[in-house]
Symmetry: C2
Subunit: 345 residues, 2 copies
């Protein structure tokens, strides 16, 4: 067992010590169910300080989108390979998605449960800028908790989800979530937790620019940035400061500060990608056109901001009262916006 | 006289000590002529360390474009205000361009020559991404030298041109030019000089995206970047390193290294603008479309790179042999490219 693998196994074992099941890798129900929303980072995660345990260089804050996400059913399988079914279609073992999932499941195999059937349904297009890997790993971790009867608190489950995909740690929660950078080498303090703020006016607008698969995956992208982007050296300090400002603005429900800081933060993250070599430009011509509509709306007095992840799509940060103005402005350019109210009753 | 004005006057006086005319502000011919090319920075200038003397935070390297630039005729005027004629049209004294020119000419007035007639013709669209202010101030400084009979060396004239507009220092030269950052507080060592490299294969392609006036002028833009962009803190170090790499690549005529470093440098400068608040995004949708054509050409094996200034237009860095391939690739998208061979006979 090499050193990386050893650190990973230790991490899992340490986590499972808090399990209510004395034999945490023995299923105590016929199947486990998990369901988790996608989340949009308002203060971004870009860059790992530890690739083995998936520890971030900086903390991040997100909002979960109810109604968009992943539902997963997990069943023990007595023999053979994992059977992975995505949106009703069984995947070959050589498909990247299936391979990655099976590697993650390796940490939870035992004589009692050597393999798994994973049936997972995404209500968002895979790899299209809405991070389905986040809701996917969060749902899987919830399904594992259910199957094995761990009854772990969500903050602990966020550590497990993080191990699968960084941003998945934030998808354990509805509403706003804060994923802490953490300081410890063992990664046990880099968990996510809910930021308590019920904000009915808070609204996300999804501007669909392009739903093709991404050219550069975010794991590879952030690695290239850390390695070749000089400007990235100044990113962690900005990211940490933005995180504080945004967390405070969420608690105070100060919309202007939240929107402004989130847009600046997203553009700065994209700036580090653009200044990477070879350049990582997730923007499409339509992304720039959409930005220009947002800036024009602001010039005309409508307080709307945007954020962008490792893809070409814009996510609008706005207030429920401005839905008509925003819808109309984008409609003039032939672009549709879907609105989501994370705190609607 | 305030302190800024005093430093500026001292700077001019110190420069004119080398004049061959013992009375350097007395015309010794009926008119002065000046002509200078526009230049394109291959390693960018973005940020001033001294606004009063126009001293840059980092040095830069450029290529001049023969046939595109400014021709200026300067005549003494005995009475009244300056008369400023741009492309055959006399400008009102309240036009920004005329005001800026008159402020610059203030340093060269005397009883013998209290005002000037300036007739200036640009063969490039004003403020369209090809920096006509660079060729404009270079041509004006050459016309001043001619009118007053200073016979100053071009490196000295580059100091004067810099005083009018930073990038103008590089427009005193044909071919490649290096504008030194300098170290001295009095600005006397922040001059430009020719980089000696005759390179007939070296080719610039002008991709015209948009020739509207710029939204944010570069002086204001760089100031906002220096003040609000965290990532900018890491820029000077990159800029200085890129400058060394590009200067060396010019001397060695190493095209790949030159192109790669120049594109990375330009994207990094734009990254600092994008990470400024409010954001400065000179890119138009068509800019991103043009970048994608360049990257596709490279994927197909054609060694073509791009640079961009404080505007939406791309300037291709390429070799003469690839003109057909590049022309055709852009023509497929309905975009025209003008080719310039800086070292053609």
């Amino acid at each position: 067992m090499n050193n990386d693998r050893q650190r990973q196994t230790q991490f899992i074992q340490q986590l499972l010590q808090a399990s209510k099941n004395p034999q945490p890798l023995t299923p105590n129900s016929p199947q486990g169910l998990g369901s988790a929303p996608v989340n949009i980072a308002l203060s971004k995660y870009w860059g790992k300080r530890d690739k083995v345990l998936n520890l971030p260089i900086n903390g991040s804050v997100s909002i979960s989108l109810p109604g968009l996400g992943t539902e997963t059913v997990l069943k023990p399988l007595q023999t053979g390979q994992d059977k992975i079914v995505l949106n009703g279609e069984q995947l070959g073992a050589d498909v990247t998605f299936a391979k990655r999932l099976s590697l993650f499941l390796d940490y939870f195999r035992s004589d009692a449960c050597p393999a798994f059937t994973v049936e997972t349904v995404n209500s968002v297009p895979t790899a299209a800028g809405l991070a389905s890997s986040a809701s996917g790993y969060a749902a899987l971790v919830l399904a594992l908790d259910d199957l094995f009867g761990w009854q772990l608190p969500k903050t602990d489950l966020s550590l497990l989800a993080r191990f699968g995909s960084g941003s998945a740690s934030r998808s354990l929660f509805d509403g706003f979530a804060l994923w802490h950078r953490g300081e410890q080498e063992d990664g046990m303090d880099s968990f996510a937790e809910a930021l308590d703020s019920h904000w009915p006016e808070f609204c996300i607008g999804l501007v669909k620019v392009d739903t093709k698969e991404k050219a550069v995956g975010s794991t590879v992208g952030m690695q290239q940035t850390v390695e070749t982007c000089d400007l990235y050296k100044s990113w962690p300090e900005q990211a940490e400061r933005n995180l504080q400002t945004i967390s405070q603005a969420i608690i105070e429900q100060n919309f202007g500060t939240l929107g402004k800081t989130a847009e600046h933060n997203a553009l700065s993250m994209h700036a580090t990608m653009i200044a990477t070599w070879p350049p990582i430009v997730y923007w499409q011509p339509e992304s720039v056109a959409a930005m220009q509509i947002v800036w024009q709306l602001r010039e005309q007095g409508t307080e709307v901001y945007f954020t962008m992840d490792a893809g070409p799509n814009l996510k609008l940060i706005m207030q429920a009262k401005d839905q008509d103005k925003v819808r109309n402005a984008f409609a003039e350019h032939g672009t549709q916006v879907d609105f989501i109210l994370p705190f609607a009753e």
